[in-house]
Subunit: 358 residues, 2 copies
């Protein structure tokens, strides 16, 4: 009985959210963030809604997906300020078009979170009419009612984040937002994977932090579609730009879209300088993807990644269960009679169907 | 034939490493870092060596394990300088005792690596006779031949790091080093797991970075056994100390060892101030663990974590194989006919033995 009530209330929430109620949108995001049964229910309901809308739509078969744009950069590069500035511009110019939604992924990593609260506050100052706290506003976001900004904290649940981000993006899309902006600190594999599967990935560096070289070493430049040198009024900005152009010349960046040479843009986000060029570059990259027929490939890469992450989660649950009920190989490893590798091989062999290579 | 040659040369390398040849130690660490078959061979050989040594030793059944001490903190907190300073002190005072080994885990994360090379150079300046480049030195490290410092880079292979760190620690131990110091930037789940399973975990914060509050929010303080406010000559150091003590008062830190109240120590690593107190606090914590009978629990937690990480790796390999040969549920998810969650459930059901809950 309680469960049925819960179900009907989630469906109600979704209906309200799709009709533009920000409070309901915020509540659904909280369910998604928490994970587990309630989150699965939201994604299941979202799927049915999207399916029936596609079926009813005269555009069935030619659905227009919202653009997903990832922004990443080391703590302190001014990422949040830049994103806030871009969102403000898009919102002001959107007119009756779509409004952007921002999912700011707080690092699942301890200690490097940076001024999370401060970032949010700064970003919202730049964005008129934005609310991230679930405040109820009856304006329909889909017809220019303002941007939606939401932080997603993960408190160390890296796996949870991998599942929550795509679900949140799907909710944003169903509610009519676009473009969908995912902002992550460039730390941790999960955050990078999230950014990597965006339609367009913007990598931000600041002068004098050695970021350009770092980003290259880490391989992140390989997936950058647009490069931004923020804080361009500071010493070293020109050096950073030259470093990046030099690495481009050397062919260090050969991602999915080999023919695309990432633009390097200088910005001073605190003054709004360069914001228009970033928006234009993102737009130009999207048009490039469309012409190259690669938009669909990027969308599929996102779903592929999500399926893999969910399979990993299922398998880990099974492994935990197995370790709880048949702990012999683990016990042998703990006593150092066998190596952890040998224990893991034995456990995997038990877990997997017999026609699988362990 | 080539494979046999390979095997015999790895066994030779191990014998040289155990006899104190730093070049061989460095080469084995490179094999471990690269992963795959060669790395597995090293750990297998190490296991046999350790087993036979335990068998031959008059101390069989009462093996003395080297202490594992984790140091973590945000980039810029002076972590490497502090570790270098501690290593220099331990090395100078060790006399004919054991020499410490340091495994500095470079973040697998892009963009926040900090001055990796600079860090290494700074650290080595502080440590007499230390070499991290595999330079051959005939002095046996086990009898005071100097510390061994090694960076382990991962270039995004988070899973590889999880497997390489415990193998490297086992090699260090077999070569007679102790204590074993693992230094990680507090970014990314894997790095945190590595630190979490140390015997003693030292969390370092710097004044004025909001680190104390961040560390608390992220849950890392819960696993801190020793807290260090480094750069204590800077403004805000006393505030940071007070924040940490306040959080201790509020009972925010209740880890494995509930009765242990972490000490808060002020250091200025660049001048060596406070280093002795850190060493004493780590020693005091180890004695506490011994008295509480928890040293063994921490060692088992490390092995447990390693078995889980290796099981995850086996399962992911099987999942990749399966996705390659039976891609139907994935294809349905890509066409949005079913949700990624439904596809993942179907794939897991195929993968797992029939008596496993998918």
């Amino acid at each position: 009985m309680n469960q049925l009530e819960g179900r009907s209330s989630t469906a109600d929430l979704l209906e309200q959210a799709i009709n533009g109620k920000r409070r309901a949108q915020g509540q659904l995001l909280t369910l998604i963030e928490r994970g587990g049964f309630a989150a699965d229910e939201v994604t299941e309901l979202l799927h049915h809604y999207t399916q029936s809308r596609a079926h009813n739509s005269t555009l069935a078969g030619a659905r227009c997906h919202a653009a997903v744009v990832g922004f990443t950069g080391a703590p302190g590069c001014g990422k949040s300020t830049l994103v806030g500035c871009l969102v403000a511009k898009i919102t002001q110019e959107a007119g009756v078009g779509r409004s952007p939604a921002v999912l700011a992924v707080d690092p699942s990593s301890p200690l490097t979170g940076g001024a999370i609260l401060g970032d949010r506050i700064r970003m919202e100052e730049n964005v008129p009419a934005a609310r991230s706290d679930g405040t109820d506003r009856t304006a329909n976001a889909a017809v220019g009612g303002g941007a939606f900004i939401r932080s997603m904290a993960t408190r160390g649940h890296a796996g949870g984040l991998a599942l929550a981000v795509p679900a949140a993006l799907r909710l944003f899309e169903a509610c009519g937002y676009g473009p969908l902006i995912v902002e992550t600190a460039g730390v941790g594999q999960v955050e990078v994977d999230v950014t990597r599967t965006a339609d367009t990935t913007v990598v931000i560096v600041a002068p004098g932090m050695g970021d350009a070289v770092q980003a290259n070493k880490s391989g992140l430049l390989e997936v950058a579609d647009v490069l931004v040198v923020n804080k361009s009024d500071r010493p070293g900005a020109e050096d950073a730009r030259r470093d990046l152009e030099h690495m481009l010349d050397l062919g260090h960046m050969t991602g999915l879209t080999g023919q695309w040479r990432p633009k390097v843009i200088m910005t001073t986000a605190t003054e709004g300088t360069g914001a228009d060029q970033v928006i234009n570059a993102v737009q130009a990259h999207r048009e490039h993807l469309e012409h190259a027929g690669q938009l669909e490939a990027r969308r599929e890469a996102r779903i592929h990644q999500e399926v893999r992450d969910r399979v990993s989660q299922c398998l880990e649950t099974a492994a935990e269960y197995h370790l709880g009920t048949k702990p012999d190989p683990l016990a042998a490893a703990l006593k150092e009679r066998i190596t952890p590798a040998a224990a893991a091989a034995a456990i995997s062999q038990h877990l997997l169907a017999s026609d699988m290579p362990a």
